[in-house]
């Protein structure tokens, strides 16, 4: 097990290298291949009135004139050793691990991301609890009462859930619950949990429900399909033949098996969300990583985008690893090697 985890972590490092290299290629090499000069890249980060010489100086200072592999090497070096970035007359030190340095705000990227991480984590964790509980229980009941009114209603609603985009359901719920009924927060505010847990939950309630609705719909359908499969298995008949109460048969023998694929999807979904719930955060103006990355993209602040990609990939890779290890715990037939 330990050997397996170490091997997976080493593989993860290579994966991160590939991801960052791909970003670098897209951000810095592709424009050059398309004919953009270092000055063209630099011109985004100077005032409108800047003359050619100023732009050139900025391009040199930001390192755009150097070959892309040198820039990439400097980025990697920063990750391990930290880096110094020239900010006008002085230099700013970006301590290791340096995820990059914003040309616009002239700040290291990582602290900014870490600042926003609690928002995203709060959003993802709260929504995850809701969607797992709601999705899985709906799916189980639907499967056990296949063809019933409950089943048909739940599956229709869940079809809507997976089909409707967040910016539609989000705006709809905001309009109804916040602006018309006035029972939830109007969005745009976030209170740290350590400051006031009640306010924290109040602010996040609507984003949680909106985000959870999307996922719960998918999980309900997945659970239903899994339960229908599992409840037809021979070992379910064996469990009943032992004389177990139906509840035990369903939960201990049926659900336990049906949950295994859901665990996999859950890990990946959560990992992905921790890298920023872009639509939800934008719709509810929550200052999380998703909102941060949207702003960075809008402002062409490439190092910030790169930093978010790196953090996001890290979460996905870790989530993947956790899922794989858990899988072996849940299903004894799985061997980690």
């Amino acid at each position: 097990m330990a050997v397996y985890i170490v091997r997976r972590l080493i593989a993860a490092i290579f994966l991160l290298l590939i991801v960052t290299a791909a970003c670098f290629v897209i951000f810095f090499l592709v424009p050059r291949l398309g004919g953009a000069t270092p000055e063209d890249l630099a011109s985004r980060y100077v005032g409108k009135t800047a003359d050619v010489e100023t732009i050139h100086n900025i391009a040199v200072r930001l390192g755009f004139t150097e070959p892309v592999y040198v820039q990439y090497g400097r980025f990697l070096r920063g990750l391990v050793l930290g880096a110094d970035y020239p900010t006008g007359p002085t230099t700013t030190h970006c301590p290791a691990p340096c995820f990059g340095y914003s040309y616009l705000t002239q700040q290291p990227v990582l602290p900014e991301i870490l600042d926003r991480l609690p928002v995203t984590m709060s959003l993802a964790a709260g929504a995850a609890v809701i969607w797992v509980v709601a999705g899985v229980s709906t799916g189980v009941v639907s499967a056990l009462r296949r063809g019933s009114v409950f089943d048909r209603t739940a599956m229709s609603v869940s079809l809507a859930g997976v089909s409707l985009p967040i910016f539609f359901t989000g705006l709809l719920t905001l309009s109804v619950f916040s602006y018309t009924l006035g029972i939830t927060a109007p969005g745009g505010s976030y209170t740290p949990i350590e400051e006031n847990p009640l306010l924290w939950a109040y602010d996040l309630l609507l984003p949680w429900i909106t985000l959870a609705f999307l996922y719960a719909a998918g999980y309900a359908r997945l659970t239903r399909a899994g339960m229908l499969d599992t409840m037809g298995e021979d070992f379910i008949r064996t469990a009943r033949a032992k004389g177990l109460p139906e509840r035990t048969v369903v939960v201990r023998h049926g659900l336990r098996s049906a949950l295994t694929p859901i665990l996999t999807i859950f890990g990946l979904d959560l990992g992905l969300l921790l890298g920023g719930a872009i639509l939800t955060e934008s719709t509810f103006s929550l200052p999380g990583i998703g909102k941060y990355s949207v702003d960075a993209i809008t402002n062409n602040d490439l190092p910030k985008v790169l930093g978010v990609v790196l953090v996001g990939s890290l979460f996905i890779i870790i989530a993947n690893l956790v899922v794989d290890v858990l899988y072996a715990v849940v299903d004894p037939r799985v061997r980690l090697s």
């Binding site: 298995e233 021979d234 070992f235 008949r237 064996t238 469990a239 009943r240 033949a241 032992k242 004389g243 177990l244 109460p245 023998h253 336990r256 098996s257 849940v330 299903d331 004894p332 037939r333």
Partner: protein, 360 residues
């Protein structure tokens, strides 16, 4: 005791429970199991009666779709209440199971009656150890500590012939071979000393070399625990080896039933003759080694009128139109030996001795 262990009582309607010491332990009377489907009603079992004493073994034989497994699942109460329409009576000791409260039947399952299934790999939960699965059954019906249950599981595994049972009790089913899994299934079924054991094709999924061992084990344990055993199989070799009585099923009804010796040596139903002819004989000429029954089992939605076997029966024409219009009743053809055929008893005896037996 010489009471009727296999009485094919062709009765209809609920009858009072026979009292006295001579009553059979498992007594199935006029059992009907119908499944309504979009295509029509599937009459999987349609008027079946049989009984088994404790300490006796009944073999139920028939092709796929003859209603064998449906019968066993009805006894266990494992049909979904909504999808199956069950009528008739199933007496287990002093309990009538068809009309009983499902909760009552559930309590009997695993304790008074237990079942072994065909494929021991898919019949065990892949996520729990063999020991846990045995203990689960045992602790459900016995108020004992985990430790005591574990001890019991080890004893059972040891008793069914698992080597190093104290270590293997913590293994998962996929660590076991096919034969060992079936042994473990038997251990699980026997954990509460059931009085009725139903084995549904217990050796079909196993290697031929293991089959005999498993059958021996069932016989040994049955004698030891004085259990009533119902073995369901399509393999005449299996029933020949261990059944006291045989029930031959066709299209959800009994075609012939009686003591195993009689059914094997003096069968009185053309379908039984066909089954016997379907057992390969290696000491015969190639063309005579196997005498299959022509045609295929009937649809259980549109069961042929009259004798359900008549479209496949080579002798159906001998009775004029009767085979096509009138359903033959089970009648006694010998001591405790019943068969449902329109042909005259003498005619059948002559046919079997002159035409059938020489080819078997």
């Amino acid at each position: 005791m010489a009471e009727d262990v296999l009485a094919g009582a062709p009765e209809s309607g609920p009858a009072p429970r026979p009292s006295g010491s001579g009553r059979p332990f498992l007594d199935v009377r006029d059992l009907r199991v119908h499944f309504p489907t979009d295509d029509g009603v599937v009459k999987a079992v349609d008027g079946l009666s049989f009984s088994v004493e404790r300490g006796k073994r009944l073999g139920i034989v028939g092709e796929s779709g003859s209603g064998k497994s449906v019968t066993s699942l009805s006894i266990m109460g494992l049909h979904k209440r909504g999808s199956a329409r069950i009528s008739g009576e199933i007496w287990l000791g002093d309990d009538e199971l068809v009309a009983a409260d499902p909760e009552r039947v559930r309590r009997l399952r695993g304790e008074t009656m237990a079942m072994i299934f065909q494929d021991p790999l898919s019949a065990m939960h892949p996520y729990y150890t063999v020991g846990d699965q045995i203990m689960e059954a045992y602790r459900l019906h016995n108020d004992v500590s985990r430790r005591a249950a574990r001890k019991r599981a080890v004893e059972l595994l040891d008793r069914v012939g698992i080597p190093r049972a104290d270590a293997r009790v913590d293994d998962y089913p996929h660590h076991f071979s096919g034969g060992m899994r079936q042994r473990a299934m038997i251990a699980m079924a026997l954990s509460c000393n059931p009085q009725l054991l139903i084995a549904d094709e217990p050796t079909t999924a196993l290697d031929v070399t293991v089959q005999a061992q498993i059958l021996d084990l069932i016989v040994d344990l049955q004698a030891e625990f004085h259990t009533a055993v119902v073995i369901i199989t399509h393999d005449l070799g299996v029933v020949a080896e261990l059944a006291d009585d045989i029930l031959v099923m066709y299209a959800g009804r009994a075609a012939e039933s009686g003591p195993a010796v009689d059914v094997f040596t003096e069968p009185r139903h053309p379908y039984t003759w066909g089954l016997l002819g379907s057992v390969p004989r290696w000491d015969r000429e190639r063309s005579e080694r196997l005498l299959p029954i022509s045609g295929s089992p009937p649809s259980l939605i549109n069961v042929p009128p009259g004798c359900a076997f008549h479209p496949r029966c080579p002798y159906a024409d001998r009775n004029g139109d009767r085979s096509r219009t009138e359903r033959p009743e089970l009648v006694e053809v010998g001591p405790r030996h019943l068969a449902a055929c329109h042909m005259g008893l003498e005619e059948r005896a002559t046919l079997f001795h002159d035409e059938i037996r020489p080819k078997l």
